[in-house]
Amino acid sequence: MAMPQTKDAPETATTEIAVSARNISKNYGDVEALRDLTLEFPRGQLTSLLGPSGCGKTTLLKIIAGLLEPTAGEVEVNGKTVTGPGPDRAFVFQDFALLPWASVLRNVAFGLELRGVAKSEREDKAAKYIADVGLAGFEASFPHELSGGMRQRVGLARALSVDAQVLLMDEPFSAVDEQTRRKFQEDLLALVQNENKTFLFVTHSIEEAVYVSDQIAILLPRPSRVSEIIRPSGFRDKGVDNIRRDPEYLDIVDQIWASLRNYVE
């Protein structure tokens, strides 16, 4: 199908690549999660990974984060081969990964704490991001006192507060309510626009992927490779309120659904 938005080569060539994953394979014992996956993430843009559950999205993100070793292949971040975690990347965990014994404030500041930032400075910063994600007033609460969506926002604030160049977000909005989710999607668009950061974003929602992404990578079921890269380009400047009504937006949603529905059965 010859869609205007699926032009690729010329645009990728002109933008700088922040993260590139080359020929990545990953086996967990007998389970082959990723096979020979190659994907590039342009700097300052948001790339979504979209694919059926269990296809290896979290695995890919963790390999890029340096938390998992690929069985084969390599990852480069800003031209340097990844050998482990680094301050250039921050991770938002699918299961939040909050310290149950620490307050919201300490949890959000924990990334900065590990990086040796002084207490008063990191708490000021954390308080700002806590307010940004809409949790002002909950600084002293503990994770078990929060709802799932609120916990997820704590994890989000923690990743944002370390000011990393590359944000690896594993289904960061999956547990928040629809209203907050829409607000976060808009905030995310603003963040991508205003800061020259690179976002890797895993989601199960086709609409969400199309709404926030500069580039969408569709993954096949295990063993995963990239089956298709879609670059929505026409509606990004039309303002957040008009995107969901834009014909191109709707077309892409349909197109992705058409290619993914084969795997749902």
């Binding site: 991770f91 990964a97 924990f110 590990l114 503990f142």
Partner: protein, 250 residues
């Protein structure tokens, strides 16, 4: 518990047992059980005496040193075993053997190795307490949510950071439980050490009183010992409850 509509305070059953003791004592059934009232009177007499004070301080020093070593060696060992498969394979059989071994039988060996002094008593105390502390710390680490460790790594935690900011805290409920049981076992260890190795401290008092059939004295010292062990273990039980809010949600 409620009785005739009144709410009874905790441990009211002790009153019942105390009364029973008093009754049995008053009947003069056996010299072995003097009335509780007599024991209590003796207790207050004994507590002030220099002999008792000396015994108390000797026992306390041995006990706290023994527990101290059990904790500072036991917790890191348990945590490292929980972290490292290799270390675990290597050490776990030994820990299990010593946990169930009749340690009293080892005391003569300790005397040969470390002499008849305080050192052997402290080592005996440590040996009684340490194994359960190791096992519990290990169990605490083994159930840590992998995500927390990945999170710490992803934000650049050093191994030291991970140890003190993640492992210790995540395993804390189990660690405290282990220390509590370890302390109870340490009481056993210190008295056995004092009886078998060199007759000092409370061990010496027990020896003295029972040899001279001073049963009221014997029971009085035992009550003091029980009360102290109970208090320390209650402190840890309290700490355990303090962290229980997250024990279920790690």
């Amino acid at each position: 518990m409620k009785l005739f509509g009144y709410r009874l305070p905790g441990m009211s059953s002790l009153i019942v047992w105390g009364l029973l003791w008093e009754l049995v004592g008053q009947t003069g059934l056996t010299f072995f059980v003097p009335p509780l009232s007599e024991v209590l009177v003796t207790l207050f007499e004994v507590i002030g005496t220099p002999a008792f004070q000396k015994a108390l301080s000797e026992t306390a020093i041995a006990f706290f040193s023994g527990v101290f070593f059990a904790i500072v060696i036991g917790i890191p060992t348990g945590i490292l075993m929980g972290k490292s498969r290799l270390l675990d394979e290597l050490l776990l059989p030994w820990v299990n053997i010593f946990l169930s071994a009749p340690l009293t039988a080892l005391v003569p060996v300790l005397m040969v190795l470390f002499g008849f002094g305080m050192k052997s008593i402290i080592i005996t105390t440590t040996l009684f307490a340490i194994w359960i502390i190791i096992l519990n710390s290990r169990a605490g680490v083994m159930q840590i949510n992998r995500s927390l460790i990945e999170m710490a790594r992803s934000f650049g935690a050093s191994p030291m950071d991970a140890f003190f900011k993640i492992y210790v805290w995540a395993a804390l409920p189990e660690i405290l439980g282990g220390v509590r049981i370890g302390i109870i076992r340490a009481v056993k260890g210190v008295i056995i050490g004092q009886l078998l190795i060199s007759i000092v401290g409370f061990g010496a008092l027990f020896e003295l009183y029972s040899a001279n059939f001073l049963m009221a004295h014997f029971w009085a010292v035992l009550i003091v010992l029980f009360a102290m062990a109970f208090m320390i273990s209650e402190i840890f039980a309290y700490l355990e409850r303090r962290v229980s809010y997250y024990a279920a949600k790690r």
